[in-house]
């Protein structure tokens, strides 16, 4: 008996040692080994810009792949990338000339076949692309010559180039043909090894843990993106912000974002870290239950909606909680988007006026209701605090996005306090047309607003669009269907070793980063 136990113990200890030894030493990170370690809180399992609809894949999309065109962030101009020149062929067709000196990571040359294959695959609904809304405007693509293609549209789609530059990446022809087949007989497109033309190539993926990319030494010269500088990029998933901060401070990470304002401000004094606050396309808004679907009819009264709008100190929230790059907005759009006119009816912070409006509406002593939110609880808490000061009691229901969106779609929220990132599309159609054209998330289902938006959405004439969008925004603001709150500003924190410039569209361009 004794010897048996003894033997067991020996085996256990030996096994333990073996595990310890084979595990190896921790990896060194940062400038020393030319690896940019960046992290977000999201798990990445599928490295494919079409079968993964996270922002991380938009970021990686720009690293591993190239679009046909690239939008210049400073001027807003569309610049060549895989396409050298392009022209509208009528309202529903675009013709593009392609580069002939580009090769994919696997060595195959890039030509019109690749573009045609990619666009026809992703725009086919049956292929189950998760980012379908980014490509649903494409009808199909045709090869005109070895390096010339034509893209046919279902209907006129003015922001087409915005989408082409941000969300349509080109894959090699036949890319998905050998996708593994799942048990239920469907092809698993997301499992295909990623191949693109981009400045970085994907070299190693551990689902949910890390994605390793290496500099593409053969990246075509003359790319608008420039030549990649840093040798390797390692993405890691770290869900806890504290963990991210600790790793950044100790050199385990070089770059993080979404740092809350208070932490970011405290980190500014750290000698090894640079803090930057940059604009994003995300806006915060509150949608009122205008048609009374939720069971409470207080918000069917315009005066109540206006009272609430006056009661909330948006300026204070933006300044004290979000960050210096955040600004208060009055229209249902981001100021940087095409067609966004902030010159509409404004609701200044005025608790006294809010109280008198409430009294006029028949609620001199306030009322109680349920408010729903999913992101940055403290922002919603601040809203609740402001409302309490005018006698309105809001009970918070803080939930997961998916659960909340379900409820919102069923119209069950008296007020939902949510956010919208417009997929970084610099065009107001990505926000206002999504919410006010009688879709399930339309709080008012106002025919007049829809009418105005329909005209704007279907015109390719910029001035016409601007005109009608502005009218729609004014309608939304004066009726107080929505309370647009503020734009989000993102805190970036990165190593002082890293030369990085935050962009306003929430897509960090790591391929332009260098070491100091």
């Amino acid at each position: 008996m004794k010897t048996k136990l003894h033997r067991l113990a020996t085996v256990a200890v030996t096994a333990g040692l073996a595990v310890g030894l084979t595990w190896g030493a921790p990896v060194e990170a940062g400038k020393a080994d030319d690896t940019l370690n960046w992290s977000t809180n999201r798990e990445i399992a599928v490295v494919d810009p079409y079968y993964n609809n996270t922002r991380e894949l938009v970021i990686m999309g720009h690293m591993g792949w190239d679009g046909l065109v690239l939008r210049d962030l400073d001027s807003g101009e569309i610049k060549p990338l895989l396409a050298t020149s392009w022209a509208w062929a009528g309202d529903t067709a675009i013709e593009l000339e392609l580069r002939d000196d580009v090769v994919f990571h696997d060595g195959s040359a890039f030509d019109a076949d690749d573009v045609v294959y990619t666009l026809n695959h992703v725009s086919n609904k049956d292929n189950g692309v998760l980012t379908f809304r980014n490509v649903s405007w494409i009808k199909n693509a045709e090869k005109l010559a070895s390096h010339k293609v034509r893209i046919n549209l279902h209907k006129p789609f003015p922001p087409a180039f915005a989408y082409l530059s941000n969300a349509v990446f080109i894959l090699p022809s036949g890319h998905y043909d050998n996708a593994p087949i799942l048990a239920e007989g469907k092809p698993d497109y997301g499992a295909v090894k990623p191949v693109g033309t981009g400045p970085y190539k994907v070299t190693d993926v551990k689902a949910g843990e890390y994605v390793l990319m290496e500099k593409n030494e053969n990246y075509f010269s003359g790319s608008t993106k420039g030549k990649p500088q840093i040798g390797k990029m390692r993405f890691r998933t770290l869900t806890e912000m504290n963990t991210q901060i600790a790793e950044l401070m100790t050199g385990g990470l070089d770059w993080i974002w979404d740092v809350p304002k208070d932490q970011a401000e405290r980190m500014e004094s750290a000698p090894t870290v640079t803090i930057e606050n940059a604009k994003t396309f995300r806006v915060s808004y509150m949608a009122f239950d205008v048609d009374g679907d939720s069971g409470t009819d207080v918000f069917t009264n315009k005066k109540v909606r206006q009272a609430v709008s006056h009661a909330i100190n948006r300026e204070s929230i933006a300044k004290n909680l979000v960050g210096p790059a955040s600004e208060v907005i009055h229209s249902a759009c981001h100021p940087d988007q095409f067609g966004c006119d902030q010159n509409v009816t404004k609701y200044d912070y005025d608790p006294a006026k809010a109280k008198s409006l409430l009294a006029e509406a028949g609620y001199p002593d306030g009322f109680e209701f349920d408010i729903y939110a999913y992101r940055q609880r403290e922002f919603t808490e601040a809203v609740i605090g402001d409302l309490a000061k005018v006698g309105v009691k809001a009970n918070l229901h803080f939930m997961q996005y998916r659960a909340l969106r379900d409820i919102v779609r069923r119209g069950e929220t008296p007020i939902n306090h949510m956010t919208w990132g417009s997929y970084s599309i610099p065009d107001v159609s990505a926000i206002v047309s999504h919410f006010f054209t009688h879709g399930p998330e339309d709080p008012a289902k106002d025919p007049k607003t829809k009418e105005l938006l329909d005209v704007a959405d279907n015109s390719v004439e910029p001035d016409t669009r601007k005109l009608y969008y502005t009218q729609a925004f004014e309608r939304i603001a004066s009726e107080a269907y929505w309370l647009p709150m503020f734009t989000y500003a993102k805190y970036y924190a990165f190593s002082k070793d890293l030369n990085f410039k935050a962009t306003s569209d929430e897509i960090p361009r790591f391929y332009t980063a260098t070491w100091n």
Binding site: M241, N242, I245, A246, M249, P260, D262, Q263, R266, M267, N313, S316, I317, N320, L321, R377, E378, E381, A382, I384, G385, D386, A388, N395, L396, H397, F398, M399, Q400, A403
Partner: protein, 313 residues
């Protein structure tokens, strides 16, 4: 004293010791109990701290310097008075939180919510567990088999995981958290009550009551329950502490009590981001929660020692 009798075990010395002591130590049950209670350091400390927290909760509206929901973003993150900072003010002895709410007030009100969660979840689980356990222990046989099966099934479900999943699916609120915790942590009640009832059931007075033709209901309520009550109290304290800690864990993952209600778990969760920068923000509710759970555990341990010294350890 228990040690002497214990270590001499079943020998003759043991019985002479205990018989000798019984003469001296049992003048009256009341004074004996008082002596045991106040002679037990853990019990006194635990009871004392718990009493302070209870008073804090009850008197929160009276003793609080402010309103727990009153925010002012311009005065946010004022450190507590013992910190050296220009912002420190005696208007906010424990400082203010991320939204500029008075921290001391929130601690006082938070005591209410943390206690409420612990108590309510414990009551629910106690009711379920005790019912199952006593029924299984009393009736045995098929009833026991079924209850055992339910207990085994429950034990094989990972608590934190299921609580998280359910709360995330239903949406979290105070009520949901209480019910989910209550419905999940009854297993210890059931297990202990089952074996306690089995023991009591075999005793003479139960048999006597049965032979007198007393109803089952009467026997369970009047004969069994009073005799398993001391176990019940101990488990109740353990589970109350357990529920409070679980709520804190749920809050940490963002699925606990909903703000602006200030449960201590939620306060820790809200402050967790500032751990590396303003540690006091997490330390204050952390210490409060720690003291609460510790005092409940001390109280429970003490009660066990005092009410049933033979079951010590």
């Amino acid at each position: 004293m228990t040690d002497v009798t214990k270590s001499s075990g079943a020998s003759q010395g043991g019985s002479i010791l205990s018989s000798g002591l019984d003469d001296i130590l049992e003048p009256s049950p009341g004074s004996l109990m008082r002596k045991r209670i106040f002679g037990h350091t853990g019990l006194v400390i635990g009871g004392g701290v718990l009493l302070i927290i209870l008073l804090m909760a009850i008197l929160a509206p009276v003793i609080s310097p402010g309103d727990p929901y009153d925010q002012d973003l311009s005065r946010k993150l004022i450190p507590p008075v013992w910190h050296e900072s220009a912002k420190v003010t005696w208007d906010h002895p424990l400082g203010t939180d991320l939204l500029g709410r008075d921290y001391m007030t929130r601690i006082f009100y938070g005591a209410r919510i943390s206690l409420l969660i612990g108590f309510a979840a414990m009551m629910i689980s106690g009711l379920i567990g005790t019912t199952l356990g006593v029924l299984a222990g009393y009736f045995g046989g098929k009833v026991d088999m079924v209850v055992n099966f339910i207990i085994t099934t429950r034990l094989s479900l990972p608590v934190v995981l299921v609580a998280l999943a359910v709360v995330s699916l239903i949406g979290s609120s105070l009520t949901v958290v209480i019910w989910v915790l209550g419905l999940l942590i009854w297993d210890r009640f059931a297990v202990v009550m089952r074996s306690a009832t089995q023991q009591v059931r075999g005793l003479d007075f139960v048999a006597a009551a049965q032979s007198l033709g007393c109803s089952t209901r009467h026997i369970i309520l009047s004969e069994i329950m009073p005799n398993v009550a001391n176990h019940l109290i101990v488990i109740a304290t353990i589970e109350m502490a357990h529920a409070i800690l679980l709520e804190a864990a749920l809050s940490f993952l963002g699925l606990g009590v909903q703000p602006p209600d200030p449960s201590w778990g939620l306060m820790i969760a809200e402050a967790k981001g500032m751990l590396f920068f303003d540690a006091w923000l997490i330390t204050i509710p952390g210490v409060a929660l720690f003291a609460l759970v510790l005092s409940i555990n001390l109280l429970g341990d003490g009660m066990r020692d005092v009410t049933a010294p033979e079951n010590r350890n």
